[in-house]
């Protein structure tokens, strides 16, 4: 019994120290993997772009056109974009065009480190 609880304690401490608890993007999204980009910091606003073009803002399914009504684009801020690796350049463009002429916003595309 004692050696068992020792091992369980060690495992617990390993997962507590080495693991990170962070909000993951939706299961359906496969993030593209990269090796050269800079490491990311967590953002409060998160957009998730699915392979079929669906969009989620902080876990809530929204239309691309209604993005402007959900975010105050006049103020400055940064947003984390979790886009599926299969998203096409056109779909990405449609999303970015919603942020047109708002240089005070920074859109950070998140990828998975290889």
């Amino acid at each position: 019994m004692i050696p068992l609880i020792n091992i369980v304690f060690l495992l617990l401490i390993f997962f507590m120290v080495a693991g990170q608890i962070k909000a993951q993007p939706d299961q359906a999204i496969t993030l593209p993997s990269t090796a050269q980009l800079e490491s990311a910091q967590a953002q409060t606003l998160r957009l998730e772009l699915f392979a079929d073009g669906q969009l989620m803002l902080n876990g809530e399914l929204i239309e691309v056109a209604s993005l402007k009504s959900k975010i105050d684009l006049e103020s400055a801020g940064s947003i984390a974009l979790f886009a599926d690796a299969r998203v096409t350049a056109k779909q990405l463009d449609e999303l970015l065009s919603e942020f047109a002429n708002t240089p005070q916003w920074s859109i950070e595309l998140y990828t998975l480190e290889k």
Binding site: I2, L11, L12, F15, A35, W105, L109, E113
Partner: protein, 138 residues
């Protein structure tokens, strides 16, 4: 007769911690941390927001158009799709200048990022992912 060292402050006997209950709690904590923690690291790339100023159009950097299998450079020299090698020959010596990487509409994000990283390895310092380019407009 009760020994003094087994007495609590109130004179009652101190109960030993039940090992079974303790291991139950520790197991639950272990399960929680195993299931919720992740070891994957994220990287990020700042996307440029489209702007419509005349100034930006005047000093526009060269655009590398990425197709499914080929490349093209949006300059007067190369407009038809060619290999990456030909594009690099054209761009050699311009690694310190800005370069925009744009995908043809159906090109995936994974492919765009792959090209972005390849150009980064080759030494290009001012890279940007640009707006997609439709085949019809060429």
């Amino acid at each position: 007769m009760i020994h003094m060292d087994s007495l609590g402050s109130g004179g009652r006997r101190a109960k030993p911690i039940s090992l079974t209950a303790l291991i139950d709690v520790v197991f639950i904590l272990l399960m929680f941390f195993m299931l919720t923690s992740s070891f994957s690291q994220w990287q990020m790339l700042e996307l440029s927001v489209p702007t419509s100023s005349e100034q930006a159009e005047q000093d526009a950097p060269p655009v590398l158009i990425v197709y499914e299998n080929e490349f093209a450079l949006l300059t007067d020299v190369i407009k038809r799709p060619v290999s990456l090698k030909s594009v690099l020959l054209e761009l050699s010596g311009a690694v310190n200048k800005p370069l925009v990487i744009s995908g043809e509409e159906s090109v995936t994000l994974a492919r765009l990022l792959n090209v972005y990283e390849q150009m980064q390895i080759l030494g290009f310092k001012h890279l940007q992912i640009g707006q997609s380019i439709s085949e019809k407009s060429e």
